[in-house]
């Protein structure tokens, strides 16, 4: 058993750290405040092959391990969780869906520009009445000649307003139940598909989230991804990949909380001593560091299983569950360590705490992860 990264993995991690320090950290507060999608950063990410790390070179990616993608999301999220997430959902779900299920033509037409970072992917599944209960969705796709006609409303679509290539799920045969949902690749500008306005969120504010409305939206048959009726199975496999990314995003948030807490606790003097000398503070930091390590091992292990082409659903759910809850627990502590200063805008820990909350909610709530895990271990 080896607990170490390869030289390439270490170098790439360091390069992303430098990238994030240079281009992301300085604007992270501003893009949070203004809910702004930093297009300039994504252009640079594309130039460095960061937008398609685990996608083969022939489809525009870097042809690297999934673990390298995970390390990149973690380091990016250490500076800005929104930017890290956008990369995560673009690569981990949108690109992976096409890579795993697409035809050669679909890969050339849609995956290649996404993996190169020229186009941004989005995952369109959730509906106002269908969150964890995906089966409650109502959006339909009816075959009419050589096209499917989609009708319905989706919500909480990440990259909704900013995306270029949407993976949209709709019922082709509601009566067939779990085998009745299908997935379609729909490029931006398709008539009948429109994105609503960006939701103002508590955290993750620079990631653009909106409703997606489908009104007699005609999608050519050639844009059906995978087989008709295979949508739900594909979505679940997509979630497995995406969840490791959310775990990595949580690691980045937690690492940043730890860095900020250590720095502040050593610097802040009360009663004549740095507050780090108080056991009440130092134990909070000890717990934070310990749970960060635990979360990291779970996350890297899930990613390693993926790279070994082994089953990793349960491990992805465990990593996401543990890392996201640890991020939430300890960003609250990080704010506590910072006292009043941590409660004010401009303190990084304030943003970290708001950003951490979403990791327990999207791509399956903590409760949904527990359903996946218990379903696996009680089988």
């Amino acid at each position: 058993m080896e607990f170490k990264l390869t030289e390439e993995q270490e170098l790439i991690r360091k390069n992303m750290r430098e990238f994030a320090d240079k281009y992301v950290e300085p604007i992270a507060g501003e893009i949070d405040e203004n809910s702004r999608h930093p297009a300039e950063v994504f252009k640079r990410l594309a130039e460095g092959d960061w937008m398609g790390i685990p996608i083969p070179v022939e489809y525009g990616g870097a042809g690297a391990d999934y673990l390298i993608h995970i390390l990149a999301v973690e380091e990016l999220s250490r500076s800005c969780a929104s930017t890290g997430f956008t990369v995560s959902i673009h690569v981990g779900i949108a690109c992976m869906l096409v890579l795993l299920n697409g035809t050669e033509e679909q890969k050339q037409q849609y995956l290649l520009p996404m993996a190169k970072g020229d186009k941004l992917g989005a995952f369109v599944l959730t509906e106002p009445g269908a969150g964890t209960d995906v089966m409650a969705a109502t959006t339909t796709a009816v075959l009419d000649g050589d096209a499917y006609v989609l009708n319905g409303t989706k919500t909480f679509t990440s990259n909704g307003p900013t995306g270029d290539t949407y993976m949209v799920f709709a019922w082709t045969d509601k009566a067939a139940g779990r085998k009745g949902m299908s997935c379609f690749i729909i490029p931006k500008g398709t008539a009948g598909m429109s994105a609503g306005t960006h939701f103002q969120k508590m955290g993750l504010r620079s990631s653009q989230t909106s409703e997606m409305v489908f009104k007699d939206c005609r999608v050519p048959k050639a844009n059906l991804l995978g087989k008709e009726g295979a949508g739900l199975v594909m979505a679940m496999a997509g979630f497995d990949h995406g969840r490791v990314g959310i775990a990595a995003q949580s690691l980045g948030i937690l690492q940043a909380a730890l860095d900020e807490s250590i720095r502040y606790a050593k610097e802040r003097v009360q009663f004549g001593n740095p507050i780090a000398r108080n056991q009440a503070i130092s134990w909070m930091i000890a717990d934070m560091a310990t749970e960060l390590s635990a979360a990291r091992f779970l996350t890297y292990h899930a990613s390693w299983l993926k790279d070994q082409q082994r089953v990793f659903s349960k491990e992805a759910a465990m990593a996401k569950l543990y890392a996201s809850e640890a991020a939430m627990r300890h960003t609250i502590k990080a704010v506590q360590i910072h006292g009043g200063y941590g409660y004010c805008k401009g303190a990084k820990v304030e943003r970290l705490m708001r950003d951490a909350k979403i990791t327990e909610i999207y791509e399956g709530t903590s409760e949904a992860q527990r359903m996946v895990i218990s379903g696996n271990v009680l089988r």
Binding site: E8, E10, L11, N15, D49
Partner: protein, 255 residues
């Protein structure tokens, strides 16, 4: 089309050095990096290759672990590397490093231009560049903040000196030592790092080199700096200046 050699050193990343209990430096958890100004040297070599063609070779001597640094250097655009790795090369003195690099260049690498960082991030002795030029018997231009190769194959270098900028022209071959102002080193992309492993590295064993001379320097100790505030104020009057000097003498800061 110039053949360019960029020299680099794999050094401790100072961000990881911690302070031990008695002020001693704790190196137990350090990571390593390419010395900062050497990254500028590599970048400049790669930029010049982009403008004029030719080739870029990176050259380093160090402990076997520096192999990772070689990979890092190759990911920054050089096409091959020469690496003299040996456990005893971990703490080389400037004169020894210059002798090793000089021997390797003379015997193995055709060149027109050698670029070094002005000084290393760890010791900043600024010795290897000038000593290497001397070893090779070529001119050395130091403190370079801008570099151009003219059509006649001569090199034009802007040197930042204390009282301004000095412009120097020299025929190739020449060695230059560069300042960080000369460029902004790139951050390698994912593919740059992955393909670096496939580039040729010529490994040179200690036995293939003439013996390096004995070390002439001895490190007596290394401690972290300590900052203490005594909150003593001095005014800008002659009496006060004298009192200030006296205070510094008393503390042993000056003698």
């Amino acid at each position: 089309m110039p053949n360019i050699i960029a020299c680099c050193k794999w050094v401790i990343d100072e961000a990881y050095i911690r302070k031990g209990p008695a002020g001693a430096l704790d190196f137990s958890t350090v990571d390593y990096k390419i010395s900062d100004y050497d990254r500028n040297a590599i970048e400049e070599a790669v930029c010049l290759k982009g403008l004029h063609g030719g080739s870029v070779t990176v050259l380093t001597a160090g402990a076997p672990e520096a192999a990772k640094g070689v990979k890092d250097a190759l990911s920054r655009g050089a096409e091959q590397a020469f690496f003299a790795g040996d456990p005893s090369f971990n703490q080389l003195e400037s004169s020894q490093t210059a002798a090793i690099l000089g021997e390797i260049i003379r015997s193995r690498i055709p060149y027109d231009l050698v670029i070094c960082g002005e000084g290393s991030s760890d010791q900043y002795a600024q010795q290897v560049g000038p000593r290497l030029a001397e070893n090779l018997g070529i001119p050395c231009i130091s403190y370079v903040q801008k570099l151009t190769i003219g059509e006649d194959g001569r090199i034009l270098a802007e040197r930042r000196v204390e009282e301004g900028v000095e412009v120097v022209e020299a025929p190739l071959p020449v060695l230059v030592t560069v300042l960080p102002e000369i460029n902004t080193p790139r951050i390698p992309g994912v593919r740059d790092t992955l393909t670096a492993s496939k580039k040729p590295v010529v490994a040179i064993k200690k036995e293939e080199l003439p013996p390096v001379g004995a070390a002439r320097l001895q490190t007596m100790g290394m401690t972290a700096t300590r900052m203490e505030r005594n909150c003593e104020k001095f005014a800008a009057t002659p009496e006060e200046v004298a009192r200030f000097v006296g205070a510094l003498q008393k503390l042993g800061v000056i003698s």
